[in-house]
Assembly symmetry: C3
Homo-oligomer: 171 residues x 3
């Protein structure tokens, strides 16, 4: 992501960097992110913002499916992780009005649907961590847990959820 890091030096706005990364991934992340059941994509309590598990869905399609290490390569899985975290950032932008309202990313948990012997789970998660760093700078530095799971919703290759701190309390 050398070119992205370069852009970080060149552009001051988080929202502009979000658009740059979106363009690189080839998706706008502008659409509504809806959920199917009796739950919400985002809930804020005090300054803490919880974000539901995101799969690499673009519009109505999960674009990276299957088992990493068998059907899906590490670079493909990293792209999946980037799409997941961009969805999370898009939700934060919708909820807070701007990515500038993020005080700090607190936690990211990354679930990878993997083959039995695929152990590069941290490397998959790096795709998402890099995006947070490029777009948010120091505020994007988070704690992280990466695990390999047996299945994910809609056969997604990667799912991740987030906890963020907002600059102001909801209400």
């Amino acid at each position: 992501m050398t070119d992205l890091l370069l852009r970080e030096d060149m552009e001051n706005s988080r929202d502009a960097r979000f658009k740059s990364v979106a363009a690189q991934l080839g998706h706008s992340f502008d659409g509504d992110i809806r959920v199917g059941g009796h739950y919400a994509p985002v809930v804020q309590h005090g300054t803490e913002v919880y974000i539901s598990g995101q799969v690499p869905r673009v519009d109505q399609t999960v674009v990276v499916t299957g088992r990493v290490g068998a059907d899906v390569t590490l670079p493909q899985a990293q792209t999946a992780a980037k799409i997941c975290v961009m969805r999370g950032l898009a939700l934060l932008r919708q909820t807070l009005g701007s990515l500038d309202q993020i005080e700090r990313m607190l936690r990211m948990t990354v679930y990878v649907q993997c083959s039995q012997d695929f152990t590069e789970l941290s490397e998959v998660a790096d795709g998402a961590s890099d995006v947070l760093h490029v777009i948010l700078g120091e505020a994007g530095v988070h704690t992280r847990t990466s695990v390999g799971v047996f299945q994910l919703p809609k056969n997604a290759s990667v799912e991740l959820d987030l906890v963020a701190a907002a600059k102001t309390i909801a209400g």
Copy 2:
């Protein structure tokens, strides 16, 4: 759960609705919920209440065991998810005195012991999300992550944990 939704319109009390759902599931959820080791079923910090992972245990027995998609059907897994979340609500009721003391459900993570190709993990989790909505209304709308795992304690088919916001800080 049409009849439950009807009841929601008809009854104002969360605790009454809790009893209705318990009766539907055929369990009282009145007993002590104890844990075996050096940890606690519930810890409150400020207004945030953390609840330990709940399996579909009734008294001393885990009532839904085995791999969803192989040994266990989707409806059976949804029932398991309902029992898990009812245990979580029972713990919140014990801790806070009444379900009316819940400000908002913040986070639910649902782990499903599944077969290799079972991808309806969100659908399993819907069982639990529906119960939160029926009993708590808007306060029950939470963020959610659903994943398929390889095993669970006591061969349980489903396990879930919760973070809730209470209306008042623990004394």
Copy 3:
């Protein structure tokens, strides 16, 4: 852990008990705990302290690897869980200055790389819960979730993450 419990009665200092457990495990837990990517081992927000997923790494080596129930026994997995949680405590000590600055452990999530039929996931987690209790006493009593996963980073047998409450807000 009878001898550890005995020591708890005899020594008042959490930091001294940390050193006793470290000596029993045969590791100092004195070294730097670094992470490879754009994330942090610890992030504090208000009084809440999030700790990244810890594997049983000593210096640069993950010392317990493989699938619990097949390559790894329950006692070996419990030792792995103890090493993981000691790393978490070492990080809290570095961040807060002393283990005395911990108000309460709030949440521990324990991921076990297990074989298909290995269900003693709570028993593995007990290794870590016992360490928290021995070193922190009542402040170490936490909520917990234990799951069996398909793989973990670097083929680790156990990974766990933590949320703790600190006595004071980060400066």
